[in-house]
Every structure is written in C-alpha cells, then in structure tokens.
C-alpha cells in the first residue's frame, strides 16, 4: 500500500507544526484579521487543526455542511472571494515555510480549494 498524503506530509505532528504558523499568519493578515476579532483563540486554533487535518488528507470528520454553517455568519459580514484567496495564500506560505515538497503542496491546495463553495455559501 502506498503512503497516503497525510502520512507523506508527516501526520499529526505536521498538523501541530502547521497550525501555529498558519494561525499566526492569518491573524497578522490585515485583509482577514478582523474576522477573527471576537473568536475564542483556543477554539479557533482547534478548528483550524481540524481543517488542516482534512486538507492534509487526514482522518477528519469533515462535512461540507459544517463548513457552510460555520462560515454563514462571516458571509453576512462580507466574506468573499478575496478573503478566501488570502487564507489560501497563508496556507501555501505555511507549507512552504515547513519545506513541504511542491507536489504535496499542490495536493493540499486542491483539497482546500474544494471547500470554496461551502465556505462562501455558494
């Protein structure tokens, strides 16, 4: 059996390393940081860990419905394509910083992109 994407990236340890970098990038990004002003940081980090586990091809109990419901209030506050792209850029930069090989980054970005419609409520 060939190694899964999740195993190739480094599994749970990679998720732990990535979430710290990713969340810091997101919070420091003026284009999107305002969306995170009122959230509980521990819970938000946990959600991002669940998302990264999913994006890394790991064992996540993800449903598009959850993603849609979670982002619906943000869509009302103006969440749009540009914000989605900003998060995607931060994700890509995080993976590059962790020296993840380009072909694996492409796979992660493809999974992340698949959430596009649910996140933006389309």
């Amino acid at each position: 059996m060939s190694e899964s994407l999740y195993e190739k990236i480094g599994g749970q340890a990679a998720v732990e390393a990535a979430v710290d970098i990713f969340y810091r990038k997101v919070l420091s990004d003026d284009r999107i940081s305002a969306f995170f002003d009122d959230v509980d940081m521990d819970r938000q980090a946990a959600k991002q860990k669940a998302f990264l586990t999913y994006a890394f091809g790991g064992p996540a109990n993800y449903t598009g419905k959850d993603m849609r419901a979670a982002h619906a209030p943000l869509v009302k506050r103006g969440l749009n394509e540009s914000h989605f792209q900003a998060v995607a850029e931060n994700l890509q930069a995080t993976l590059q910083e962790l020296n993840v090989p380009a072909d694996l980054i492409a796979q992660v970005m493809a999974i992340a992109a698949s959430t596009h419609d649910d996140v933006l409520g389309l």
Binding site: Q12, V15, E16, D20, Y23, R24, L27, S28, M41, D42, A45, A46, K47, K49, A50, L52, T53, G58, P59, A60, N61, Y62
Partner: protein
C-alpha cells in the same frame, strides 16, 4: 473487553473501539465534533490513572498531568474510571472562614479552611455559592501547604455575591465551595522557561499563587509579574510581592497604574508595559488574568509576539449581569 466506569455506571467498550464511540453507543451524551483528536470537544478526564498517551497528544501539559484526554483518541486496553471535565463542580465542600482583612479600598482577603480534603492547583478557581443561591467563580490565591483557601474579592456596585461577602462573611462564616476547575496553574515540566504574568485588579490573585507555586517548585527561569490598576491604591499585596522579589533573584514584580505617583510604580497599563518590555515571547509561558477585554486582546498580542497557544493561560474575570 475493557470496562469503563462513568458517572456511577459500568460500560463495556469493545476491543479496539475508541472510548467516545463506545460511550455514544451506550446512548450517553458526549459532546464531540471532529473525531480526529483536533478539536478537543470530546475531552474527558481520568483522575486516578494516566490515560493512553495517544489520547493526550495536543492537550495542555498541565491538564494532561491531571488526567485530561480526548476520548475519540482513547482506545482503552484496561479498565478505566473517567469523568467529564467539570465533574468536580458537582461536589460541594464547606469551608470555614478563618480570616478576613481589607487589602485595598473595596478589596478584601478571605481565608477559609475546607472541612474535608480539598485537592487543587494554585491558580485554579472554585465556585462559591451564597445562601441565596447565587454562584460565582473565584480564583484560589494560596498554595495547598498554606492550609487554607485564599480569595481576593472586589466589591462590585450592586453585586449580589460580593454584597453578601462584604456584609456577612466574617470569621466563623461558612462558605459553600464547588470545584476546583480551570487550567490556569503552573506546570512543573519546564522549570527553565521564562514566565510572564499579567493581571489587572483582583486578577492578581491567581498570579500570586502561580508565582509562589513556581518558586516553591524551584523554577529557574525568570518570572515577571505585572499588576495593573487605575490608581496606586488598587495595587494591593505590593509589600508581600516586593518581599518575594527580594527573596528570589528570578522573580520580578512590576506594579503599574494609570495614575502612578510614586517612583517605584510604572505609569500606564500593565499589559502594554509588559509587552513593551518583553516584545519577543517565543518560548515564554504566559498567564493573563483579569479584565476580559484586556485578557482577550493581550492573548492575541502575546501569541503574535511568539508565544505558543499551548503556553498561554488566560483567565478572564467575567462580571455576571445583575
């Protein structure tokens, strides 16, 4: 097949089955979400024996020490006894008030001795219940070796709980206590790490306990305690803290007041002064207690200054609406 004791009942868990799925299968209501160990919604506690290591990955180290684990990552290999994270709140203990004194205008110190053995970590909080059924959380400012529980109480305008405490809780009064709970306490595993403690008002109470606990455990890293108040009269316990700083070379006490007048009090907000003096916090352990807006904002700032989320302990002192 391992058996798991939970809320007074015994449940059989299938071999290889994780605890969350097993308990859900028995019809129990266990909050859960990602089922992959990330979200920690399904956290439970095994107070008597350590849970499987895999179920504690990602749990704050000091909570892991108390037996907290995520049930979706726990495949029991032996019998276990588990409870919900807040199970301690269900048992009430009576404590006799042995001491009361004024610490500052509108702030009192109350010491009470529990009638039975009461395990806690310095800095955790308990719920106190008044005879009128009002219940509020107060941080423990003392250490187990002190032999009493100490609370610092600020009188709130029209506060139901604090009104009762100021008017009726004197030497000999009885307090109803539930708990302890909370993760705001010292972790012994990293004695060399620098620590930053920032508190406003009676947010100082858990920080005194945490600093004393760390020093008693032989913490070698620097410990910086910033206490903030609007004016100097709110900087209570300053004599004790200066004495502690004299006794321990690695403990630094930084009193801060918006309206500072004395030379040895810094003028400004405690959180802002702390961050200005320590702009790079990678590798630091941070404790934030007091005003909720200060705690939330400072938590973000210390995180962006490099502290890991797992090393930031925040305890917002929420004021209950009347």
């Amino acid at each position: 097949m391992p058996a798991v004791q939970f809320e007074g009942e015994l449940y059989q868990i299938e071999d290889g089955e994780n605890l969350l799925i097993g308990l859900l299968r028995h019809g129990l209501d266990i909050p859960n979400s990602c089922q992959s160990g990330a979200c920690q919604t399904c956290m439970l506690r095994s107070p008597a024996s350590p849970p499987p290591a895999k179920s504690q990955v990602g749990i704050r180290k000091n909570l892991a020490e108390l037996g907290y684990f995520v049930s979706c990552q726990c495949v029991p290999t032996a019998d276990m006894e588990v409870c919900r994270p807040d199970a301690d709140l269900l048992t009430r203990t009576i404590a006799d008030v042995t001491h009361r004194e004024d610490l500052a205008p509108e702030i009192i110190r109350i010491r009470a001795v529990p009638a039975e053995k009461f395990d806690f970590r310095p800095g955790q909080f308990v719920q106190l219940q008044s005879p009128h059924g009002v219940s509020r959380s107060y941080s423990i400012a003392s250490l187990p070796d002190d032999g009493y529980l100490e609370f610092h109480v600020r009188r709130l305008p029209e506060g139901q709980m604090t009104g009762w405490m100021f008017d009726e809780v004197w030497h000999g009064a009885k307090l109803q206590i539930a708990g302890p709970c909370g993760s705001c306490f010292y972790y012994q595993g990293t004695p060399e790490k620098p620590m930053l403690l920032v508190g406003t008002g009676t947010g100082l109470s858990p920080l005194i306990a945490i600093a004393r606990d760390a020093l008693a455990a032989g913490h070698t890293g620097e410990i910086h305690l910033y206490h903030g108040s609007w004016n100097e009269s709110g900087l209570y316990c300053s004599a004790e803290l200066r004495e502690l700083a004299d006794q321990h070379l690695n403990f630094y006490y930084h009193p801060c007041a918006d309206e500072a007048e004395s030379e040895n009090v810094q003028k400004g907000r405690a959180d802002q002064i702390a961050l200005a003096e320590h702009p790079a916090l990678k590798g630091w352990i941070v404790y934030l207690c007091g005003h909720p807006a200060m705690v939330q904002l400072t938590k973000k700032k210390v995180y962006l200054a490099g502290a890991s989320l797992a090393d930031i302990y925040a305890d917002p002192f929420v004021i209950c609406p009347k």
